[in-house]
Amino acid sequence: MKHKEYDVAIVGGGFSGLVAAGILKDHDLDILIVDETNRLGGQYLKTHPIRSNPDTERNSLQEIGFRQIENIEGGRVKIMTRTRVLEINDRRELLLEHDLEQLFVLTPEIILLAAGAREKFVPFKGWTLPGVISTGAVQIMMKGSGVIPAEDMIIGGSGLFLYTVASEVITNGGRVSTIFDENSIIQKLSFTKNLIGQGEKLKEGFGQAARILFSPTRMRHRYRIVEARGENELEEISVAKVDRLGAVIPGSERVQPCECLAVGNGFAANIELGLLAGCSPEYDTDKGGWVIAAAENLETSVPGVFAAGEITGVGGAHKSITEGKLAALSILNKLGKIDDFQYADETRSLRKERKRHLQFGSAFNALTHLSPEKINSISDDTILCRCEDITMGQIKGAIVAGCRTPVAVKRAIRTGMGICQGRICTPVLYEIIGGFTRTPIHELTPLSVRGPVKAVPLEVLAKPISLLKPDFPNG
């Protein structure tokens, strides 16, 4: 006899997942939402559980997010945090691992992938030295644990997130001595025209700019970090001027002391679970590189599997909220809970909003685009794949030896075969292979994904697997 299954399983408890769960729960459906971290909210709502005072300093987005969390707690939504999806197959079977203790399997009617994004990096010599961290890590450590990684830091890379993090460090009493931005002021200013008519983002941007301008932080445009040096940890960095296309201007390098360097170059969608489920990917620089292709109703190429938020295109919190709503309504339509007429009516404005957010995203992602000139400036002795200690020179060597696809390079030298399973190196690896073989990136096939998608100790995989059935302690 077939047991009752969850109607919808949502993977990821950030904005899109939360908003979707909030809509779906009022329609007599059994919903499961899983998240890898300790609590719902994704990166945007990450706060210290004890230290944050719920009455102060929440912006309107956080307000929406926290209200959603309260909204779904206690309903017919089963919340599983500290839970990772290890496998999805094209029959919508999910294998979950909870707390490194339990394994569960389920086959929901609908899967909504809302797995978010990760930071993207352009490697440089010495970026593996302790003391070089990501801008995202700085933000998470401050927001989640109330710790600043260093009293004094330098921030480098490209994209607007550099300024977000710098402004937060300053607000928290830390010092950012310099921001080295690869873009020119003109490139950055041309971005701001995309903010016209988007009051909240404009206000946020001006607030950040003001905090940085009124601090002792120096801003240096068209500079790139070319090397990090130190005995066993970071002691100094070398920075160089770059030209309009992103190539390093020879002879412009200069060295300065640095104890903590935060780097970031925009974001890459977490497409791995989608690939595993058999969803077609799509490469689009406007969307931040490889993403999971989704139709206008956010259904992927696999019927019954939907995608929302950063994994359909890097675009920020507003886009994720809009897509969470849109995906929920599309799912309700697919399950026969709302008819086509009501669906068209209720999604009209959302579809319009989504287009606007995608437009904003494309301007945002343009600031972090990896040009061939940037790729060319990575020196041969730079480690690309941190897990397997593989250098740029080894990758170039493999390409010269005839490896013309990501999978060929992977087989030859093991790039992307380490414990992070290629999450850090592949976004830049695809650009390197495309650049040196003169192949448009969209013609390359991203590396296939095999379960378990996240590293799990063998003794956990050896545990018995139980069926996960709908179960609502509070509802």
Binding site: E36, T37, N38, Q43, H48, P49, I50, R51, R118, E119, T128, L129, P130, G131, V132, I133, S134, G136, A137, V138, I140, M141, M142, G144, S145, G146, V147, I148, P149, A150, E151, N172, G173, N232, E233, L234, R386, C387, E388, D389, G418, I419, C420, R423, I424, A455, P457
Partner: protein, 94 residues
């Protein structure tokens, strides 16, 4: 090294942990990574092939650079684990 703490209040629940055998007072809700950073630990392990020192990179569970041994269990992501009273953390894995 309390200067790296943004707003620690004495009223908060303190959590005593041991980092490489040395006592350290963290706060409830801290990640193990934040406790390591706030106590001055930059290098956490060595890379697999060439054995060079490594510290945290992504801070969000993606890069696996912050693997440490927690309560005798090796290869735990410090950034994804919250501190618990009397937790024993060992750095220096290869």
């Amino acid at each position: 090294m309390s200067h790296l703490r943004i707003d620690a209040h004495p009223s908060e629940n303190q959590v005593d942990i041991y980092i490489n055998g040395e006592a350290y007072t963290a706060y409830e809700g801290d990640t193990v990574l934040a406790a390591l950073v706030a106590s001055g630990h930059k290098s956490l392990r060595h890379s697999r092939k060439i054995g060079e020192p490594r510290g945290p990179l992504c801070g969000m569970g993606v890069c696996y650079e912050c693997l440490v041994t927690i309560n005798k269990k090796p290869h735990q992501r410090a950034c994804m684990t919250e501190v618990e009273d009397r937790m024993e953390v060992l750095t220096g894995e290869a």
